[in-house]
Structures are given as C-alpha cells and as structure tokens.
Symmetry: C2
Subunit: 156 residues, 2 copies
DNA sequence: AGAATATAGTTCCATATGGAACAAGACTGC
DNA sequence: GCAGTCTTGTTCCATATGGAACTATATTCT
C-alpha cells in the first residue's frame, strides 16, 4: 500500500516543521497545545459527562470557592455573564447546584455545589488528573518543576 | 471608594488562588493561558482584520508551505474539513487565496497565497510577534529558552 | 473491466458562543 | 428624597463550530 504524497509539487507537509519556521514559536506552541489537548479534553468531558465548557467552569470554580455568585465566576474565568447564566440554569435543572438569593443584595444569588455536583466534580477531576499525567509524561520531575515555575511566572 | 466584598459570607475570590488548590495545576495553567491570551488574540485578529480562526489558520499554513490542499491544512491543524472549506471560499472571495484544480487528482485543489494574502499574513505576524513579546515579558532570555525546550518536549 | 472501498470537498443541520439590549435592584451626590 | 448611574442576571440574536451525510473522483481487488 503506497502512501501518495499529499500534494503533487511540494514535499508532504510535516506539521512539526511549522514549529521551526513560525515567527512566534512559543505562542504557537501554547496555541497548539490548546487545540491538541485542552479542546479535546473539554470535548471528552462533554461527551462523557454531558456538560459543556461553561458548566464545567462553573463546577470547577464552585469546587474551589464554597460560595460564589455567577458574576464572581465570570470574573475568575473571564467567561461572559450570559454563558454563565445559561450554565447556572442547566446545572440547577440537573441538580448539580443550589442557588439562594443573597439577603443583602436582591440582584445576586449565592451559588453552591450540591452533593451531586461535588460527586460530578470528583469524577471529572480524576479524569483531568489522568489526562495531565499523560500530557506531562515526556517530562521528568525536575522539568515539571521548571515548567510549573515558568507557567506561573507568565501569569505575573 | 470602598470596594465591596464580592459575596457576603466568604472571602472575595482571588482568581490566582485557583492555581494553588486545583488538582491539575499545569493543565489548568495552560488552559488559563489559552483563555486569557490565545482566545483574545484570535478575537483581536477577527476584529482588526476581519478573518476568523479557520481563515487565519489557513493563512498561516499557506505562508509556511507554499502549496497545500484543504485536506493538508486539516491534517496539520486538526481543524475539521468543513470549517476549512468555508474558510477557503471566503478567502478566495476576498482575494487572499488562489486555487487551481490538481491535474493529477480531480478531487483536490492546490491552494496558494495571493500577494494580497501574503500581505495580510505579514501584518498579522507582526501583531502576533508583538503579542508574544508581551506575553513572555516576565521571562528573561534563559527562562525563555527553558520554556521553549519544555513546550517542545511536550509535543513529543 | 467492474465492484467495492477510500478520499477530497461540500452542504445541511444542531449547538455553542458572545455581543448588545434590557429589567430589577443598589448606590451616589445633591 | 430622588434623579442619575452602576451592577447583576437575563433574553434576544447573529455567528462560529463541528458532526454527519452526500457527490465526485481515485484506488484496490478480483
């Protein structure tokens, strides 16, 4: 079974070669990591757990801060308010969330995870920890510390 | 001007604290970098140059490989074929692209950048190089080499 | 050669996404 | 106290996105 060249005139494009010639290699690498790893991971979560990105983001934030408003989550994650509004309603309907009006401010509502939501979060975390392990597999312990430090520095 | 606490009972959520407690910190950091940097950059390109992600991806690939088929671009970037089909048509209509049927295979078409497309690419590259410079500003030269090496290793 | 299979590109459709406008509640300064 | 302004959460809408089916061409196998 002969593998044809991908196009007649030029050499078959080796995706890796992009990294050698692109003018903003590190940004391109981060973007590539995203498309190759982060996006498919969101996709897998959607497929296996039935929640979309905004819902997952909500879950993650509430698992780390016991009580938040939708606006808080928006600020933490930079996700638009309307996407989070939808997410809150769907998570409420699924029983992953509890919501109670803030007595001191009639506009906002205090959100917390229900036990069911906490269970879902634990499942997803297990999945993501495993996925991160696969991603970082090429690095040894010292290199992982370096990467962690460098990524941390990028957040200022 | 007093800044109110973001919610009544708990401490105001410090987004950075997520990095301390999340169970998959590095994956989260990469994802966060994406949402905070890569996505807004795509957004700025869309706003300022009027092209969307698939179109930008097409432009970038063709700037680095002189002639490709749409399928090649799909393989390089892992972007679905139909998104690229749309992108090709819009870039053709805008005059950024040339397309000629492959004489040896009636199914595929050979794509190349027009001079206009090359000009657009140069503008966008200048923008992205500047943006990367801002992103990497917190790192010194040695740290940048380290980061580059580590990100490279992650691609196996 | 002809049937079965594979591939490139396209179209159709369902859904995710975010901007903008809006309503209700809260704050500001006079 | 109240007019003007700001903030939260919501709805409406336009668009980006990708899965799946489809057409036309190419390849493989007998």
């Amino acid at each position: 079974m002969v593998r044809r060249q991908l196009n007649g005139a030029a050499a078959p494009p080796d995706p890796a070669r992009m990294f050698d010639t692109v003018e903003f290699r590190d940004a391109y690498r981060i973007s590539y990591l995203t498309n190759a790893i982060v996006v498919p991971t969101y996709e897998a979560i959607r497929r296996d757990f039935g929640i979309i990105r905004a819902e997952y983001v909500l879950l993650l934030c509430l698992a780390h801060f016991p009580v938040l408003t939708a606006r808080d989550v928006s600020r933490i994650t930079r996700m638009p308010r309307n996407s989070l509004s939808r997410a809150v309603h769907r998570m409420l309907a699924e029983g992953y969330l509890d919501r109670s009006p803030d007595p001191s401010d009639g506009r906002q509502a205090r959100l917390t995870l229900s036990p069911r939501g906490r269970g879902l979060h634990e499942q997803i975390v297990a999945r993501l920890v495993k996925r991160q392990e696969e991603i970082l597999a090429p690095l040894n312990v010292k290199e992982r510390r370096q990467l962690d430090r460098l990524l941390g520095a990028l957040h200022e």
